[in-house]
Subunit: 209 residues, 4 copies
């Protein structure tokens, strides 16, 4: 039994290592959307300052996506606090989850380049939706296949907390994305507010401290 | 003996860390083939939608290659569940294996850019072939040099399962690649079907659960 | 209690893995500022040599930023020698810290491209300032929430050492950045001197050996 | 004492994680030198084949640099099999070592773009020289500061083996680089032969099996 556990533990190490890798690269690649706005024509400090202002939309979507990736990294790594064993299917759910992680810099660059366009919000929301869907499915599968730690006493509470958290967040994201039919900027603002709440807010502290 | 084991274990950590790194970067770099299809001329939602359709071949090969990398990452990390010690040669087999992992974004970009061209299928297949060959050789070397865990009871069965799996998969990939002389699209479709089978399918569950 | 510890330890592994990932990618991406200065016109060795000289400013800022990242990586990983547990907030402070780590290649490219411009020094300094601020806040939070190792005897001394080190360094960086109103080159030179001192210098050895 | 050990061990984990990260990224970024040689004009399989031939110099230097990085990764991680503790200075030697690791894709791109040019060989050799110098210094420092494992019986032999290996290799690299005054291609061929010997060869097996 202990041999099996050590093998299973090792497997967790690998999928965790791969996840940290994909997340850290996706986070760092976001910076490629911030292209140097300065041309040869910019010489005075004032001109440089004006040029920097032109990349503010890119900076905004950089911050937005860094928060997105931070939130889903936290969600994914929190699940592994309670997951004790893994099997091939669970790893594959993670790999598909990571596929959508690696797409975040792409959907961010579309958003940054077309910030007035409703469809670019739609694409970005679709990316968040699939991240949430695979994260939810990851937990559901681990629970159904009894891959969770048996030493944990509050599994029922934790299970409820993790699932409610994902569903509530996804409903809020969908609502925020729909706001784009009113105004794209309000839509982005709402998404950022939801993210700030999930990163530092009240709901956060109650469910999975 | 225990000192030797801990040293050997450490070595496994390093080559595993390097592998996770190369795989996660290769996976994330695939996204660079998805270039923003939107130009300044695209303004309405409908134009954006049409522009997105033009990157469907790139999206298809993105998905194809993410599956490829996921399958070979799973194959490589599964071997390490049974490998207990490493030596310099085994590490070098992994490094050459990783060389072909790092080439996947390159052969993917050729495939995405020339999806109607038989030779681009040939290059992509060659990449998969070398991945399989080094994976097979990696296992063969570990088994012959007695680097496998001695605590494992079913080593004979596991050995057979791992080797058959690689050989069957490679035969199927070769057959699928040959289909390109009939139709390139059927060839790519066949490769994706093989991948879906290996990621989630029946053969999978029997051999190395 | 031991279960809790192992869980907490695991969490440390993940945020440490993410940090190492972001730092290593940011370090390696710095090299993208070093564009091949050779065009088709360069054929003789002498022409190549002259062309290489033209990238000296880029090489200088590459070295500057590699030192910057090395210093903050050291500072961040040193804190984790004394941090035993983590919570969600501490992880989020790290994630925001990593956001400014991932911005270093961007502010470096601005500095490399506009090395005569005061504002580019200002942007670079702002990046260093936020890195220091989040590093300081990271330690402060861990200490206040009793997340530090209780086995450590010299916590009072260590606490003082870590905090003084960050504050002193930030004062020196601010002073060096202000020198740009006198001369940009003197300003960069002063920053490099401060970095060399922190990497190899005397203060270094006393406080956190 | 055991607390100190666990802290020191943790520190090793971090610098090892950072090293694996930088190495794996540098290895994967090498592929960026392989630009898709196919333009819109290439349509038939024969044209594609001819176009691929034009990237053979880039493929050659890709292979060369992957071997280089593999060799120095092996050298660096082998040292950590015998290093038990670390201190800030040892970490900084590793960070400077990693700086030259991150420069390999850059010097490779210069070599690939100017394969007939002696100076590009000189730059590549300089990169290898600094890698070797910091690797040697890393070991020397660890030995002098008693950071090596005390449980190891053959430390004198291991010490001699590691040091001789680096010095011999560097002499051979320098000699191979000097061959460029005769012929650049012979010079590159000689470097590859040295690398193949160090990766799979005889000297290898004797010294640090």
């Amino acid at each position: 039994m202990s041999i099996y556990n050590s093998l299973a533990g090792k497997r967790l190490n690998r999928i965790e290592g791969l996840s940290d890798g994909v997340f850290s690269i996706a986070m760092t690649l976001l910076v490629f959307n911030l292209k140097d706005p300065l041309t040869g024509a910019v010489q005075s400090d004032k001109e440089l300052w004006l040029a920097l202002q032109s990349i503010l939309p890119a900076l905004l979507s950089f911050f937005l996506s860094f928060m997105t990736l931070g939130i889903f990294w936290t969600g994914h790594s929190t699940q592994f606090q309670f997951i004790e064993r893994s099997d091939r299917n669970l790893n594959w759910i993670s790999i598909l989850f990571l596929m959508f992680v690696s797409l975040v810099p792409f959907s961010t660059s579309i958003l940054a380049g077309h910030i007035n366009n409703r469809l670019s919000i739609g694409i970005y929301w679709l990316n968040i939706f699939f991240l949430g869907a695979f994260l939810y499915f990851h937990w559901l599968y681990a629970r159904r296949k009894n891959l969770l730690s048996e030493k944990e006493n509050n599994l029922v509470l934790i299970d409820k907390g993790i699932r409610n958290r994902i569903i509530t967040a996804q409903c809020l994201y969908a609502a925020a994305a729909l706001l784009c039919f009113w105004s794209v900027y309000i839509s982005i603002g709402a998404i950022i507010l939801i993210q700030l709440n999930y990163a530092f807010g009240i709901i956060n502290r109650k469910t999975t401290k």
